[in-house]
């Protein structure tokens, strides 16, 4: 969800994916073509915000401990088209802002961190999160303990 500028929360869960997963190689530069479209509307009203973003994206990565991969991403020539909503010149400024490199870390396939220029706008942050989250590959249901909880020896999992 980009158009609401909320980005993809790191806590989201994705559907189960098989063990087949991409092989990422360090010391390589991956060049992708990126297209991102998003629109946001209240109810059935016309969109408050809509845009198309096209860019090249250069990815490099390194391995970190504990099944973590850190990616460096540079958007090359990001361009907005069909943009509506937002303040005057906002999308032009955003395009410039998006040219700054950003980094994200996948731990065991899941998005663990996104880093970028300090003071990045919320809109840029949202877009960068969306791009990073699109490369996630795993599911982990976070089962946590709550006060008063006990393990059930029948049924599934832990219940309150």
């Amino acid at each position: 969800m980009v158009a609401d500028a909320g980005g993809v929360p790191v806590g989201q869960t994705l559907g189960t994916i098989t063990a087949l997963r991409p092989k990422w190689l360090p010391k390589q530069t991956y060049t992708y073509r990126l297209k991102l479209e998003s629109r946001l509307a209240i109810g059935d009203q016309p969109p408050m915000v809509a845009f198309h973003l096209a860019s090249e994206a250069e990815l490099q990565l390194r391995e970190l401990p504990e099944k973590s991969l850190q990616f460096s991403v540079r958007l090359v020539g990001p361009k907005f088209s069909g943009a509506s909503g937002g303040a005057d010149g906002q999308f032009d400024r955003l395009a410039i802002e998006l040219e700054a490199p950003f980094f994200f870390t996948l731990t065991a396939g899941r998005l663990a961190e996104v880093r970028g220029r300090a003071g990045a706008s919320r809109f840029a942050t949202s877009i960068l999160h969306t791009i990073a989250a699109s490369l996630q590959f795993r599911v982990r249901q976070s089962q946590v303990f709550l006060a008063g909880q006990q393990r059930k020896s029948t049924g599934r999992g832990l219940t309150k």
Binding site: T18, Q28, A41, G85
Partner: protein, 443 residues
């Protein structure tokens, strides 16, 4: 969900708390729950250059529609599509200086940005409610709880809607008018019938002032323990804890009636903070939990600290937890297995495999629960294949049957283990569940 040998389907099933952005809707900045209306996509693997390995991520495509309730009547709909297609993969021209490039960057996290400032949608939530009318509605609900005649769905639904509206309005009032937080705290302290609901509205408001009020109630030894526990329970669910909130909870980790809330809550907060990029705060919590583990004298305290660590899922605590996997006290050993289940890494997988194939029935059960939430690594697949039939408890073998079914499509080597349970298990329920799993049905 593999749709072809090199293509994976992907579906988003749920969405965490999120914020709407000021840049999109001026003045908006709030936490919302979003429902996935539709989500579909695919990932395609293959070699862009035709060379090995043929597991480059060539294409990512997804499309999703989300809906966020902004109040009783307003919903925000969003539609996003993303496509990434690999153009080339080439050796990088020069070694990258990661440390230098990371200098000057900061965690980018929508969840932590500008928490709890007033927002225009709160106005919709508040509607015509005032503090007094919202409180009145919540108190009426609290007094009538359990008095609705059973089998009266109409009045139950109306009651839930009325309470929900009042609750949302009160949380929005507390968030947008911090001065009301003191008033809310006063009503809680003076025995409002809706004291527990009011604590929850403070938790939902999530503002620093609301957290401070919850901590104040939690720490007031003159108040009843149930009320203090309720305050603690609301406080530990706040998604954006302030440093003061963390400190307040840390002070309860040494003992007392709120120790369990503090340990479990801090563990969860640690994980959320780490996922949000606040690694320093997260690590300091985990260090504290490890310290408490080393000081824990009774088995029950050891169990609680281990569960706090479990909630953190932080592999920095692995070395501290490992010795407890060998505990002779079953519940401590089991809690140690729980403690590592969300930690990443092969070392953890080996430990889980060892526990699953070990001879402690409770630890076997904890291990299968851990395996259920992990990926089917070679180590875990092998452990499941070897250990399923020998697990002591029927409940463990039942869960093993479910996991065998889940992992089977990608790991046909698990088929004999599932057949073994279906044909030879001593427990008829396990046999039935495994047979259903073999037939591709849910047990």
């Amino acid at each position: 969900m593999r749709s072809s040998p090199d293509e994976l389907g992907r579906t988003k099933q749920s969405y965490g708390l999120m914020k709407l952005g000021k840049t999109m809707i001026p003045g908006v900045d709030t936490q919302l729950t979003t429902v996935v209306v539709k989500s579909e996509g695919s990932l395609r693997l293959g070699s862009v250059s035709g060379s090995m390995p043929a597991r480059d991520l060539r294409n990512v495509e997804y499309s999703e529609q989300l809906q966020t309730a902004m109040g009783p009547s307003a919903t925000v709909n969003s539609h996003t599509t993303l496509a990434l297609s690999l153009q080339s993969r080439q050796p990088s021209p020069a070694p990258k200086d990661w440390a230098a490039e990371l200098t000057g960057t900061a965690p980018l996290n929508p969840k932590l940005m500008g928490a709890s400032s007033p927002d225009s949608f709160d106005a919709q939530r508040i509607g015509s409610f005032t503090f007094d009318t919202a409180l009145g509605a919540l108190e009426t609900e609290a007094r009538t709880q359990g008095t609705t005649p059973p089998g009266d769905p109409t009045s139950t639904k109306a009651s839930v809607q009325a309470t929900s509206a009042a609750f949302s309005a009160m949380a929005a009032l507390l968030r947008t008018q911090p001065v009301l937080v003191a008033q809310a705290e006063r009503r809680i302290r003076t025995g409002s019938a809706a004291a527990n609901l009011m604590l929850d509205t403070l938790g939902s408001a999530g503002s620093p002032q609301a957290q401070q009020a919850l901590a104040s109630v939690m720490n007031d030894a003159k108040l009843s323990e149930p009320l203090r526990r309720a305050a603690a329970f609301s406080l530990i669910r706040t998604p954006t804890p302030t440093p003061e909130t963390l400190q307040a909870l840390m002070e309860h980790t040494k003992g007392g009636p709120l120790m369990v809330h503090a340990l479990y809550g801090l563990g969860t907060m640690s994980r959320h903070l780490r996922e949000a990029g606040a690694t320093s705060e997260s690590s300091s919590i985990v260090r504290l939990l490890v310290e408490r583990l080393s000081e824990a004298e009774s088995p029950s305290v050891q169990v609680h600290v281990l569960r706090g660590i479990a909630n953190s899922g932080d592999s920095d605590a692995l070395q501290a937890v490992k010795p407890w996997l060998g505990s002779t006290v079953s519940k401590v050993k089991t809690a140690a297995v729980d403690a590592i289940r969300l930690m990443p890494g092969e070392a953890v997988e080996r430990l889980l495999a060892e526990q699953f194939k070990g001879n402690n029935p409770e630890a076997q059960l904890a291990a299968i629960d851990a395996m259920i939430v992990r990926d089917p690594s070679t180590i875990l697949v092998q452990a499941l294949a070897e250990g399923a039939k020998n697990a002591e408890k029927p409940a463990t073998r039942l869960r093993a049957a479910g996991l065998l079914q889940k992992w089977l499509p990608g790991h046909p080597e698990l088929l004999p283990a599932l057949k073994e349970l279906a044909q030879n298990d001593v427990n008829p329920h396990v046999r039935e569940a495994a047979a259903l799993a073999l037939a591709g049905k849910k047990p």
